[in-house]
Amino acid sequence: MVKSNYCKMISRSKPGPGDGGNTGSWRVMRPIINLDKCIPVKTGKKACFNCWLYCPDCVVTKTIPPTIDLSFCKGCGICAEECPADAIEMVDEASQTAKEK
């Protein structure tokens, strides 16, 4: 009998997050946004958004205030470095996690 369904398997990946798992676990330092200094928060307007623009991992939202998805944020620190208002501080991840517990 001739086989009718050939090629049942190919390597074709489907889109989805977390290919590298919870990359938030990579963090050694965690970004914390100081809402008192953040420009869009202070002005109430859509402004700046450097953190959203430069984030390599699309984990910052373009909202007022911007939020960071900590399940995927790798803690690179670019947002902190590029914030013109010095509103983002990189704090030690281990002690933050301990604080939360």
Binding site: V2, K3, Y6, C7, I10, S11, R12, S13, P15, G16
Partner: protein, 399 residues
């Protein structure tokens, strides 16, 4: 309609009738007239296809891989070193399960340089996973190309159609050129299940881990070895598929019936010569002569080499006293590739024929019918006396 044309034009005509959509080719002797004819078909409007004059054979297969993944019928052709240059891509096309068809005008491989016919180029690719079909004359070239496109898209495995460089590619023979409407009803349009589609995005053939891994929906997806296992299973099943396709072709066009091997005077033979390509037809003259001398000998031409039709071959050769495998290739350091495959196919038999191996024609060394007669006569006269190492026909060693 009957025409008289070269083997290369027969191949090009088969590609045109099969409505290839993307053609990429790089010139290499003796394939060049094939690609020239295809570019003429395309430029004149006889064939509606994209013709890409690529800058290398590696790129020719790259174009085919990409075009096939994007959902179109792709074709290329090459010979010898060009085939070797795209070796990496051949593996890729197979693993990606792409129904690409390629013609190989068989030619010897350098070093040293040779442009003349032997089978070393396609034989060197026998383990890659491409389906390998060999045509023995011009009619078989055009017919096999058409069947190849249907087989490729049925089993999702690329197919190479091989024919002897110069001996078939450049000689002229009469053959029947099927009508386009007939080919259209034999070969349905290419409609793949998975293809590059912005409306249904997927990432093809990225790094695939050794172990199984869950996908985005949590379902465990296969690993590398499962995908390769599936390929092998489908290759073995392709034997049956090709039989059916060949039967369909015979019904429609009145030709075929020898998908795996083409036998001549083998039924009542005690001895059988085995060869690939035009050599199997040249041997028919030798068979007729020996038959006149009372030697019960036949010749079998192997038409499908991969997947290897081991069952059909074992059945055909069971009960024979001696099988003589003559081939234009060698697995250097060991024996002829076809010889090894036939021996292992015969291993299952309770009583096995003696098997002999002759290497000949490398680099296009002329094969004289007289030489074949002498070799076969010796093999049939004292089959047990010949050792299990390849013998050579046509060497001119200066003592």
């Amino acid at each position: 309609m009957h025409i008289i044309e070269s083997g290369n034009v027969a191949a090009a005509t088969g590609v045109k009738l099969s409505r290839a959509q993307v053609i990429a080719a790089y010139p290499i002797t003796p394939q060049t007239p094939l690609t020239e004819k295809l570019s003429e078909f395309v430029e004149s409007g006889q064939l509606e296809a994209q013709y890409i004059p690529v800058e290398s054979e590696h790129s020719a297969m790259a174009v085919c891989i990409a075009a096939s993944t994007a959902g179109t019928r792709a074709f290329t052709a090459t010979s010898a070193n060009g085939l070797l240059y795209m070796n990496e891509q051949l593996h890729w096309a197979v693993g990606a399960r792409l129904p690409i068809v390629m013609c190989v005008a068989n030619r010897g491989i350098g070093a040293p340089w040779t442009v003349w016919n032997d089978h070393q180029d396609s034989m060197a690719q026998r383990d890659v996973g491409w389906i390998q079909l060999y045509a023995n004359d011009h009619q078989q070239i055009i017919d096999t190309v058409i069947k190849a496109f249907r087989l490729a898209q049925t089993v999702s495995i690329p197919v190479m159609v091989c024919y002897d460089g110069y001996l078939l590619s450049h000689t002229y023979m009469p053959f029947d050129r099927p009508e386009q409407s007939e080919v259209d009803s034999f070969l349905p349009a290419f409609a793949p299940k998975h293809f590059l589609d912005p409306d249904n995005p997927g990432n093809f053939n990225t790094v695939t881990l050794p172990d199984v891994r869950p996908g985005v929906d949590g379902v465990l997806e296969p690993g590398y070895i499962e995908i390769r296992h599936n390929l092998h299973q489908d290759l073995r099943a392709a034997l049956t598929s090709y039989e059916e396709i060949d039967r369909d072709f015979e019904k429609q066009f009145g030709r075929g019936g020898t998908p795996f091997v083409e036998e001549y005077r083998c039924d009542d033979a005690r001895f059988v010569a085995v060869a690939i390509g035009s050599l199997s037809y040249q041997l028919r003259d030798v068979i007729d002569t020996m038959r006149e001398d009372g030697i019960a000998i036949g010749v079998m031409g192997v038409q499908m080499y991969r997947p290897f039709p081991d069952e059909a071959i074992a059945r055909a050769l069971a009960g024979k006293e001696c099988v003589v495998v003559l081939e234009k290739a060698l697995s250097y350091g060991n024996q002829g590739p076809l010889y090894g495959d036939i021996k292992s196919a015969l291993y299952r038999l309770e009583e096995r024929p003696v098997v002999h191996n002759y290497i000949l024609g490398l680099g296009g060394r002329e094969i004289k019918t007289q030489q074949l007669l002498e070799a076969l006569t010796e093999s049939c006269t004292k089959p047990q006396a010949i050792e299990d190492t390849p013998r050579w026909i046509g060497l001119k060693l200066q003592e």
